[in-house]
């Protein structure tokens, strides 16, 4: 039953492409797409180094949606930066299933737009980097603009956007090249509640329609329970995995799911873990 609905929702799924997900029955028997072992990070500072991450170990399975919760400074951003290949861990290892880094879309905590590029030019950047024909790139960027609801702002400069709009540009930019791995660092932090919930729906839809693995940092328990298959909770700095919770809520998850007892139980469990 859940299958049929998620299939319909997956409006942009390639015909006969992604097999329908069966989210309530998580077998995840296939080999992990990403194995993370004992990651630790120490940033050099005056008093012997600042430990940001400690012994982080977990597996990520293909097409899994993982949310990472944790107090400020617990190393969530650091973890994403390691997985994106931007910094090296001090010790420990991580390995992708196919050996090399999959194509990655990243949304940074700050929108991180190029101030000299218009909205559409910012969004098409990943395609430019891949040397894709400009007309094709622009057409694709227009699609993404529609997806994040920024029609009419194609040619605006970042300085003329609100924080939430800038963040939506960043989200569109992270998705445009259809990456296999999405690393999202509080992508909806600066959005208003309504837009945020719309983006949740869109993100689940995109994630269900295309074969993507998502690791998303968030501060919101609700957000993690709406979106994730699994929630990891980090401890205070240095961040260590304190809890690894399976979110076995049926999909698609509608707004009223938060009033179900199971949602409440999971939320309480997470809240206690975060303190």
């Amino acid at each position: 039953m859940g299958e049929a609905i998620s299939c319909q929702l997956a409006g942009i799924a390639s015909p006969g492409g992604a097999p329908p997900r069966n989210d309530t029955n998580k077998t995840m028997s296939h080999t992990p797409i990403l194995t993370i072992r004992n990651l630790s990070t120490v940033f050099p500072d005056e008093n012997g180094g600042l430990r940001a991450l400690r012994d982080v170990t977990f597996d990520v399975h293909p097409r899994e949606f993982i949310c990472v919760l944790g107090p400020s400074g617990s190393g969530k951003t650091t973890l994403l930066r390691i997985l994106a290949g931007l910094i090296k861990p001090t010790s420990g290892s991580f390995k992708f299933g196919h050996g090399e880094q999959p194509s990655t879309g990243m949304v940074f905590q700050q929108a991180n737009l190029m101030p000299w590029r218009t909205v559409i030019e910012n969004i098409k950047l990943p395609l430019e980097v891949k040397n894709i024909n400009d007309a094709v790139a622009r057409a694709k960027a227009r699609e993404m603009i529609e997806l994040v609801g920024l029609q009419g702002f194609e040619d605006s400069l970042p300085r003329d956007l609100s924080g939430g709009m800038a963040q939506r540009v960043a989200i569109a930019r992270a998705l445009i090249h259809d990456p296999d791995l999405l690393l999202l660092d509080e992508p909806f932090g600066s959005l208003d509640a309504l837009t945020r919930e719309r983006m949740w729906t869109e993100l689940s839809r995109i994630w269900q329609a295309r074969q993507k693995t998502v690791i998303m940092v968030t501060h919101s328990i609700n957000e993690s329970l709406f979106l994730a298959d699994r929630v990891l909770v980090l401890t205070q700095r240095p961040g260590k995995i304190k809890m690894d919770v399976e979110v076995d809520l049926p999909r698609p998850r509608k707004d009223d799911i938060r009033y179900t007892p199971h949602f409440g139980k999971l939320a309480r469990k997470l809240r206690e873990a975060i303190e």
């Binding site: 994106a84 290949g85 990243m106 940074f108 700050q110 991180n112 190029m114 101030p115 990943p126 300085r159």
Partner: protein
């Protein structure tokens, strides 16, 4: 448009009028302070006999070649120094020391070494342009936000892509600021070279006027130099308007 230029137009007119009245009633002889009208007459004459266009062309060639050379070296070296702390540590004492030597002082040396042709002027001009452009290139490239490098690296961008899509546009505002200074200085560079020893160019014309007590000619040369500097400055401003639109306001 008219509104924008009206104040400058009026002040220029007032200045010329005051000048004309001063020379007329103060009794200062023409070879010390020529009247604007005599300068104008001399200007027309210099244009008609072809001397002014010729010498202006020579100086302009020196300036453009010197500016291009100076900017080219400053940009390349500046970029390398911005990227390598070690190289900067090794080289910056020399660079700063080289700035402590006034170019005016070594200009005669350069003219001796490089002969009195156009080359020595181009080199002097390039030397004077070099430093401000170098410093601004370093500052500009260093100021590129690291977050944008992260973005490009997360997309597996190549070095060339990072250069052209991030470093160049991000450092352009500061770089053009340096170019603006360099462009103005380039005029000084060419003239310094010509004043040391030259058979042609506006500096030569200026000196000739000086020797012959042809003071109006000196004024014509000076004003032409000012015009060249203003034009170069204007070109950089045009570049800024064209490429830094995203910054305006």
């Amino acid at each position: 448009m008219i509104k924008r230029f009206l104040p400058i137009l009026l002040s220029t007119l007032a200045f010329l009028l005051g000048w004309q009245l001063l020379t007329r009633y103060s009794g200062i002889p023409n070879f010390i302070l020529p009247s604007p009208l005599s300068v104008w007459t001399r200007f027309i004459k210099a244009v008609q006999d072809g001397s002014l266009p010729y010498h202006t062309w020579i100086t302009l060639t020196e300036i453009v070649l010197g500016l291009l050379t100076g900017v080219l070296f400053a940009t390349i070296i500046g970029y390398i120094l911005a990227k390598s702390r070690t190289l900067e540590k090794v080289l910056s004492p020399y660079l700063v020391a080289s700035q402590a030597i006034p170019v005016v002082a070594i200009a005669p040396l350069l003219v001796i070494w490089l002969k009195d042709g156009i080359l020595s002027k181009v080199v002097i001009c390039a030397l004077i342009v070099f430093f401000p452009v170098l410093v601004n290139t370093i500052v500009g490239v260093r100021a590129v936000p690291t977050a944008l490098y992260d973005l490009m690296n997360s997309l597996h961008a190549t070095r060339a892509q990072i250069l052209w899509k991030v470093e160049v546009p991000a450092s352009l505002p500061v770089f053009l600021g340096g170019l603006r200074i360099g462009a103005t200085l380039s005029v000084i560079g060419a003239i310094v070279g010509e004043l040391v020893d030259a058979e042609e160019g506006l500096g030569f014309l200026l000196q000739l006027g000086d020797f012959q007590y042809d003071t109006p000619m000196v004024f014509v040369a000076v004003f032409t130099l000012i015009a060249l500097a203003l034009i170069l400055y204007g070109i950089v401003r045009l570049l800024e308007n064209r490429f830094l639109k995203w910054q305006n306001k």
